[in-house]
Point group: C2
Chain length 338, copies 2
């Protein structure tokens, strides 16, 4: 069977109406009597007519599509955010498109790709956002919302979370358990959130009157392997009874490092993560961590984007969502403390 292409003209001819009427019916607009509507719909059904996406876009100027770009597209982190976006956009008759690229770096190209009539708007998840890219988006006038950007202060509407407060809660939890010798493993250096989280640690230590010892602070990337490596170094300090980590993957890596050094978690060492990925609760032992409301972040971003696309001004263009500490099994009182 040859690829059947059903055009609006065919439907119009069969139904004995004009193409315009078919268009109105198909798009659920006013302007068609019930009788006509029924007749048209019947023909549409019989012929299996669906409007051609390109033609529709070309003439209407809107695509009904939202593009999503994420650095590590298919991480659990991005996954949860994307689900939030999808939920919010579901009733808006919009479809989502993720752009996939082997090369995680070329953010600019990926924005470019989406910007030539493919989508009505863009959501960037944890983007690097070099100034040129921001400028490009602004010049194009492409509706865009940014979720958890590496740099703050970019001139685009953004959604972030209260990183500092989350880590402060985590650190205070350890202090309340009786820990005094608490280390910290930062996430990727080139991230504003990394600094914000670290500030939470410093704040909590200061408030408790505990010293912040630079020798007990290290930097990792956001990966398991990096967490393992960095923790292996940090744990040469046998006085440490707890470590706060800048991400769950780092925490899980650190946990395995501790184990390989013969230190049991949480008995010999308490560990806290950040993110609350699905893996955190499935880990052994289940990870105490700071939850980012990933789903809500996606929803908030999507809602803002729709507003922009529809020309409604944004009440606030900098949304900060709260973080919460989730207690599980990777933290306990240090040895010798009830």
């Amino acid at each position: 069977m040859p690829p059947e292409k059903v055009t609006i003209a065919q439907v119009a001819a069969e139904a004995g109406v004009s193409a315009m009427t078919v268009s109105n019916v198909v798009n659920g607009r006013a302007g068609a009597s019930d009788a006509t509507r029924q007749r048209v719909l019947k023909v549409v059904e019989r012929l299996g007519y669906k409007p051609n996406a390109s033609a529709r876009t070309l003439s209407s100027g809107r695509t009904g599509l939202i593009g999503i770009i994420a650095l590590d597209l298919i991480s659990e982190y991005a996954h949860e955010i994307v689900r939030g976006i999808a939920v919010e956009l579901a009733d808006d008759e919009r479809e989502l498109l993720l752009n996939v690229s082997i090369d995680a770096i070329r953010e600019r190209e990926r924005v470019d790709f989406f910007s030539h009539g493919l989508v009505d708007g863009l959501i960037l998840i944890a983007p690097a956002l070099e100034p040129r890219t921001v400028e490009f988006i602004q010049d194009k006038g492409l509706p865009t919302v940014v979720i958890d950007p590496r740099r703050l202060g970019v001139g685009l509407p953004r959604v972030t979370v209260d990183n500092t407060d989350g880590v402060r809660q985590a650190t205070e939890h350890l202090i309340a358990l009786g820990h005094r010798e608490i280390g910290y493993i930062k996430g990727e250096e080139d991230h504003e959130s990394t600094e914000a989280r670290y500030r939470g640690y410093v704040d909590a230590m200061r408030i408790a009157g505990l010293p912040v010892d630079e020798a007990r602070v290290s930097s990792a990337s956001f990966s398991y392997a990096s967490g393992f490596r960095v923790a292996t170094g940090l744990l040469r300090d046998e006085g440490l009874t707890a470590v706060v980590c800048g991400s769950d993957l780092v925490a899980i890596g650190a946990m395995d490092a501790a184990r390989s050094l013969g230190r049991a978690v949480p008995d010999d060492l308490s560990i806290v993560g950040f993110d609350d990925l699905p893996r955190a609760s499935q880990n052994y032992p289940a990870l105490t961590t700071v939850r980012q409301p990933l789903h809500d972040m996606g929803q908030a971003g999507a809602r803002a984007l729709i507003s922009i696309i529809e020309g409604r001004p944004l009440a606030v263009d900098r949304m900060t969502l709260p973080t919460t500490l989730v207690l599980r099994d990777s933290t306990a009182a240090p040895r010798g403390v009830a």
Copy 2:
């Protein structure tokens, strides 16, 4: 700055040539002197001209886009396959689009979405492929390749792996270690691969002259939680010294179940998975598992799809890739055996 739209006409005017010439230059076709080419390219650069995707598609009939649909879009499993696809398509000047949907079920709708001029071809990852969907694709004449479909025997080119052989290797490995009391946890029932894998277990047991005891065979879905639950039941049988699982997530769930029942892995119980997701090697203890060549599966599928799109007939339309056993730390000789 207002959204600047640069059309081919503007470029043509600025460069003092016809739109046709600009089109030829931009698309790298013959038919433009070097001088003209240079002049045009300079204007293109200065004005930041990029052809409008819809207009181009409407007139040329091709989009340069490949659509990907996966049931659980953002699993590690799909991730690896997608990366393979991306690698293969990179030099073909094609972009990938993933369709995202909150509702994992509506495969048909998602195919529909892509089929109206949005993409040149489709890759389905682990699709359910109900007959209607296959029929629709065939009627449309939409180039499509299927990777690891739930049902075999669909009339579309497909890529699968040798499931039976993988599990046979895994089971033989356990037998070689000295295990005799080996249980099996299947993956999702509604999957041909689930049965194929189970056959590998049965084959290996039979070859070794060991009985297959139905009471030692259970079914889970492909998730961690399901693996945990099912294993908890299966392990009431204290005679079991090893369990083969139909997927890595199930194996990881089973491992935690064993631990919560006070059985150490691998000392009291050996566990083998299937997939070799990134998590398998990061797990504690690292998971012995059967590797699916996910990356190669993606590449093979993409290569086949390009052939179809370009009108070259496929040499084979049923590709089966090999699986290999990866030995790690979750398997060991049973207690009492050197």
